[in-house]
Structures are given as structure tokens and as C-alpha cells.
């Protein structure tokens, strides 16, 4: 059984076909197919119940890399980690990276992922120069932003539905070395967060905040604000990349529960922080969770939910406070509560999630109906503010929620390959 990262839902597929030849056509399949990269998205956006998954991990070749201009063309199954390992010795880095480096380029485009630098750089799709789309009728469409037609904007954030992305070319950004200059500050309340954030955003290309979700309901909303930038050539440390551990087992129940959570959050909040900005390895800064491989197993066999919303700027402060209050009152909490403002660089995709405003991402152990009921209540707040939920993190949003959050969905639907579909797409459109 193929699973998405949160190990819910558990769906059966007809078969999984491994693609390994860039120039070959798509295999003949009975039923609908869906490209599947490294399976790091959540919910059912990378799943296709009863259909076929096209495993792209063997389409993992670099096609061309120009160390002078920082342009990289690669097959869609290449992992972001593989790109960093190749280009960083040449003083280049990914223009945008999500919180894990174990996603494929194809996945990063299809979900138009964003990172800690959204307020400066936009999302991943903003740095794609061109890509090739292979349709089930054998047609190969090379598309770039400038060119006519909407194939490009349909495919950026297109959830893998417009055809198979065979390769893409991206523009990298300069970085002198593997180090990041990072400033971490504790904040005691949401008000303080907004204030720190406003100051920091003009000076730091990367910003994000971790929130103690349990404290938020008590009117505090404490957390840690992290801001960073790539280190200068003269700023560097000797040292190795941090080693990874592996979470070793599938516990029968979630190890994250209200008791352990209180303890973990408290310890995390009170961790010793450096007084001044200090150097940190890029892997520690961008990918703290990659340090524990298969950490998703900590939630046990039933898996977990991720809930990520974006609220428009004018409604954000009140909306975030109301959401946190609701969650806290429910007694269900999240360790990975991440708060970040998204900037005004427009996303290129018809279905892109990233838009100006504030995004809050939370994860919850799967406690069945209790958890789903909470989500429905929080949905109401998101909807009232005119916000949206992130499809690549979703396993349960109602169709209406999707359609209001992504008003271009009908325009997008015209670009879907007739042989492609996903469990997510059927869930949010066939009602």
C-alpha cells in the first residue's frame, strides 16, 4: 500500500508503475493514473484509490547544470536534497525550499510549495523557467511563463493532474557556503509576534515562527521567532552536516498526546537560545524534521492530520487568534504549529495555495470524529475571513471549502489530462 506522509487515508491502488525512461511515452493503463514522487505530501493529493500511480523516483537524472548562471535542468523525480548536494559546492542554493528536502522537483512544482522566504521570493513556481509536460495522448508540451496558453499556470500547483512533468528547468540563487546566519527570539504573546514579524520581514529573507499551541488559548500565544539569511563568504564554520536518526518503530497508538505535548512544548519553548545571531547549518535551519527520518511514525498506525490555512492580511490577526482559541478549548493540540506571513509576490499557478496573508500549519493525531469535528469548526473561521486550506496537506476539506478557496478551479479543470485523476480531486469536485 502506498501511503502519503501523514499515513492517512489508507487507500488501495490497482498498481504502481515505475517510470525510468524520460523519452518513453506513458504506459497504457486501465483506469486513471497520477504521478507520485517521494510521497511527502499529506492526505490524498498524491493518492489515487483504485487507479494507477506513476512512480517518478527513477526519473532522477540531472540533465544540465550551468555553474556560471545557476540554471539547472533535471528530471522530475530528482529530490531537492540531490540538487543541494550537486549545486552547493558551486555556491548555489534552491531558490525556495519547503520544510523537507526529501521532495521531488515534480512534487515541488505540482504543489507549488513555499518556504520561509515566501515574503521575499514567492513560491517554487516563481523560479521555474520552463518545463515539459507529457500528456496521455503522447503529446509533449514544453511550456514557459512567457509563452502563450495556460499550460504553465495550470501545471504550477496543478496537483499532478495536467499530465506528467518529465523535466523542469529552475533558476538557483547564490549562497556562499552551507551556513545560515540565524536569529532566534522568544515571544510571549501573539501581539508580540506581529510586532517582531513586522520588523524582521524587511531585514531577513527567511522568517518563521514556532507556536506553543497549548498556550495560545490561555491568551498567551508564546513561541519562538526564527529569522535567517545565507551566511556571507567571510562567515563560516568548520563542521559537518548534522547526522540523521531514524524513528525505529510503529507504535500502536500516538506518542503525541495532551500529556506528552505539554511537556514537549514546554521544553522546546525553554530551549537555550543564542543572544545574538549565530551561524547554523542549512540542514538544521531548513530541515529540522529531516533530522529524524520517518518521524511521521510517531503518531502511530492511525496517522495524523495536517491543517494548513492561509488568511488574508486584513483578517489575519483576529482570525489566527480565534482559531488558536478554538483549538486550545478543544483540548487537542499540535506540536508542529508554524506561523508565517506570506508576501505579495503573486503565485503563477491557477491553483496555487500561496497568496498574500498569514499561514498557520498545525498537525493533530488522528482521533477520528473528535478531530474531524474540530476541523469543521475551524473551517468556519477560515471561511469567514476569506481564507483557504492547502490541498497538499489535506485529507478532509469539504468540496465547498475547496471551491471557495480556489475560485479558478473550473478554469483549471479544462487542463486536466483525460486519463489523470487523484483521490483528492474526486473528493473535492464530485459532490
Amino acid at each position: 500500500m502506498e501511503l502519503s506522509w501523514n499515513r492517512y487515508p489508507r487507500l488501495e491502488h490497482r498498481e504502481v508503475l515505475t517510470l525510468s525512461d524520460l523519452s518513453a511515452g506513458l504506459p497504457e493503463t486501465a483506469g486513471f493514473c497520477l504521478p507520485h514522487g517521494n510521497g511527502r505530501s499529506y492526505g490524498d493529493v498524491c493518492l489515487n484509490e483504485g487507479g494507477v500511480l506513476l512512480d517518478t523516483r527513477r526519473l532522477n537524472h540531472i540533465i544540465a547544470f550551468d555553474p556560471v548562471t545557476g540554471r539547472l535542468r533535471c528530471e522530475s523525480g530528482v529530490l531537492l536534497k540531490e540538487i543541494i548536494d550537486l549545486v552547493l559546492p558551486w555556491s548555489w542554493f534552491l531558490p525556495v525550499t519547503p520544510g523537507t528536502q526529501y521532495v521531488t522537483v515534480g512534487g515541488a512544482i505540482a504543489n507549488d510549495v513555499h518556504g520561509k522566504n515566501h515574503h521575499w521570493a514567492g513560491s517554487f513556481g516563481n523560479h521555474v523557467i520552463c518545463l515539459e509536460l507529457l500528456r496521455s495522448d503522447g503529446q509533449r508540451i514544453q511550456c514557459a511563463k512567457e509563452e502563450a496558453g495556460e499550460w504553465f499556470s495550470a501545471t504550477i500547483g496543478g496537483l499532478g493532474l495536467t499530465g506528467l512533468i518529465t523535466w523542469a528547468e529552475i533558476q538557483l540563487i547564490p549562497a556562499h557556503n552551507p551556513w545560515m546566519m540565524v536569529e532566534s527570539r522568544r515571544f510571549a504573546s501573539l501581539d508580540e509576534f506581529w510586532q517582531i514579524n513586522q520588523e524582521a520581514e524587511d531585514h531577513w529573507p527567511y522568517t518563521v515562527a514556532w507556536l506553543d499551541c497549548l498556550s495560545a488559548g490561555r491568551g498567551k500565544g508564546r513561541g519562538i521567532y526564527m529569522a535567517g539569511r545565507h551566511a556571507l563568504w567571510t562567515e563560516s564554520l568548520t563542521g559537518r552536516r548534522p547526522r540523521s536518526l531514524r524513528f525505529p518503530l510503529d507504535p500502536p497508538f500516538s506518542l503525541i498526546n495532551p500529556f506528552s505535548l505539554r511537556l514537549i512544548n514546554s521544553l522546546y519553548f525553554h530551549q537555550p537560545l543564542k543572544k545574538k545571531p549565530a551561524l547554523s547549518h542549512y540542514a538544521t535551519f531548513f530541515y529540522p524534521l529531516d533530522g529524524v527520518l520517518e518521524w511521521n511514525r510517531i503518531y502511530g498506525r492511525k496517522g495524523f492530520f495536517q491543517y494548513q490555512c492561509v488568511l488574508p492580511p486584513e483578517a489575519a490577526q483576529a482570525g489566527i487568534a480565534a482559531m488558536l482559541k478554538k483549538i486550545s478549548a478543544s483540548g487537542q493540540g499540535s506540536f508542529l504549529a508554524v506561523l508565517k506571513t506570506l508576501g505579495t509576490v503573486p503565485s503563477r499557478g491557477l491553483l496555487s495555495f500561496a497568496r498574500p496573508g498569514v499561514t498557520l500549519a498545525l498537525d493533530f493525531p488522528n482521533c477520528g470524529q473528535k478531530t474531524l469535528r474540530l476541523f469543521n469548526e475551524v473551517d468556519a473561521i477560515v471561511r469567514d475571513t476569506g481564507g483557504a486550506l492547502n490541498p497538499s496537506k489535506d485529507a478532509r476539506m469539504p468540496a465547498l471549502m475547496f471551491k471557495t478557496g480556489f475560485p479558478n478551479w473550473e478554469r483549471f479543470a479544462a487542463y486536466i489530462d483525460p486519463k489523470f485523476s487523484s483521490s483528492f480531486w474526486r473528493r473535492v469536485t464530485h459532490e
Binding site: M1, V16, L17, T18, S20, D21, L22, S23, A24, R58, H61, I62, I63, A64, F65, E75, L86
Partner: protein, 251 residues
């Protein structure tokens, strides 16, 4: 042995071999790659070149290795490109459909030819070249399936077992001549070749992990390696089940 090796890989576009190629390129080795599928081979060569630095040769050619007549020519080409050959990795193969083989003599013969005879033909040429120079390393991917014949997979097993036995003899002959012969026996590896299987559980390995095992085995000049190591113990047990019992099992 100099640090920079000149390596020829047969079956270079297979998942395990291309992962080996990447690790060797990062170490600074030069490669000559032989593969069946032209576009995949070109893709691999372009990929390896982006990872290489000045002075490293990365070349290749397509060939049908069942055409034994061409083998000499391939070695000559490789020597022209690389200068000399320090190492050969033989990694090509197919995983036959056992049922289909049972119903077809010609398919069975073809699978034995691809997985067994063509490897022996390549080894014969390569061994004589290395013996004449008095050094070198031959690494061949066989399989745990070659350790004992099983109903579900014995055509493949017989071909791989033949190669394993051939390598034993070759090692015995060349050990006195300074040439290393390495038998690599992977268990389950998650590659396109094993696409039909449900790939979960502790016995399945990623091609990159298997490749790391091969690169390490070559560095340490091992004789026989199981990938991963646990297969050594599994096959020890399987080999020692008495035939009177084994024939009744479904394995």
C-alpha cells in the same frame, strides 16, 4: 591501486548500477558505460557529467550483450576511452516470468543466455585481459536466488547460480594473479526490475543502499557479499534445509 579508477559498467542504466556510477563519479573515477536503452544511457551520461570534475572521462555506448561477437569490440572501445581498465562491474539482467518460461523453451533459453551465458562470455574476455596485466577487479551482480533452486524462480536462479559458480572458479584461478573477483548477491532491491512485488518490509533495500554496499565491497576487495548482510544468514538457513523437506515447501 591508484585512487582514481577506470571502470567499465555493463548494464549501466539499471537502478543499482547507475547508483554505483554516481558514487564512483563523486570519488573521481572515470567510467565507460554500456547499456541497452539509448535514451536512458544518454540521460545517465549527462547526469554523471554534471557531477564530474575535470579529467574524469564519462563515455558509453549501447549494445545488446547477447551479441557475444561484439564483446571484444566493447572492451577495445573502453580501453581507447579510459586508457586502461582497472575494474569491471557486470550488472545487466532481467527478471523472467517463471510461468512463461515453463511454457516456452525458447524463452527459457533466452533468459539463461541473458542472465547467465552473456555474463560468462564477458568475464572470459575481461579475465584474460586483467590476468595479462596482473591486476584488476571484476565485480558481478548475481543474486541470492542463485543459492538454491526454488519453484517460483528457478530459471533466473539457475542462470545466477551458474554465474556464482563460475566466479568461484575464476576467483580461485585469478587470486594468484593479482586479480580480485567479487560476487555480489543482492536480496530484494526496490528497482523497476522488481516492479511486480509489494515492496515493503525490512528485507527490501533501496538501490542507493545496495550500491553503497557494492562500492564498499570493491574498496575492501571482498570475495562474496550479500546485500544486505542479513541475507547471508537467511540463505545459510535456506541452503541447509534438507531437500526431502525443501521440495515440499513453497518458496
Amino acid at each position: 591501486m591508484s585512487n582514481r579508477q577506470r571502470i567499465v559498467i555493463f548494464g549501466a542504466t539499471s537502478a543499482i548500477a547507475s547508483a554505483c556510477a554516481r558514487q564512483w563519479v563523486k570519488r573521481g573515477d572515470s567510467l565507460f558505460l554500456v547499456g541497452r536503452n539509448e535514451s536512458k544511457l544518454e540521460g545517465l551520461i549527462a547526469d554523471l557529467r554534471t557531477q564530474s570534475s575535470t579529467g574524469q572521462q564519462i563515455e558509453g555506448t549501447t549494445a545488446d550483450l547477447n551479441d557475444f561477437e561484439r564483446h571484444e569490440e566493447l572492451f577495445t572501445r573502453a580501453e581507447q576511452v579510459l586508457g586502461e581498465i582497472d575494474m569491471v562491474l557486470i550488472a545487466h539482467g532481467t527478471l523472467p516470468d517463471q510461468q512463461a518460461c515453463q511454457n516456452s523453451v525458447s524463452l527459457t533459453m533466452e533468459e539463461i543466455r541473458t542472465n547467465g551465458l552473456s555474463v560468462i562470455a564477458l568475464l572470459t574476455s575481461a579475465a584474460n585481459r586483467m590476468e595479462a596485466r596482473g591486476r584488476g577487479c571484476l565485480a558481478v551482480i548475481t543474486s541470492v536466488a542463485g543459492d538454491r533452486g526454488r519453484a517460483s524462480n528457478y530459471v533466473y536462479g539457475a542462470a545466477k547460480g551458474m554465474v556464482t559458480l563460475f566466479l568461484q572458479g575464476l576467483r580461485n584461478r585469478l587470486a594468484k594473479r593479482g586479480v580480485t573477483v567479487i560476487t555480489i548477491k543482492p536480496g530484494f532491491v526496490d528497482t523497476p526490475m522488481t516492479a511486480r512485488f509489494e515492496k515493503k518490509g525490512p528485507l527490501w533495500a533501496e538501490p542507493e543502499t545496495a550500491a553503497y554496499g557494492i562500492v564498499t565491497a570493491v574498496e575492501k576487495r571482498r570475495d562474496v557479499v550479500y546485500l544486505s548482510g542479513i541475507w547471508c544468514w537467511i540463505m545459510l538457513i535456506i541452503r541447509h534445509i534438507p531437500e526431502s523437506i525443501f521440495k515440499r515447501l513453497s518458496l
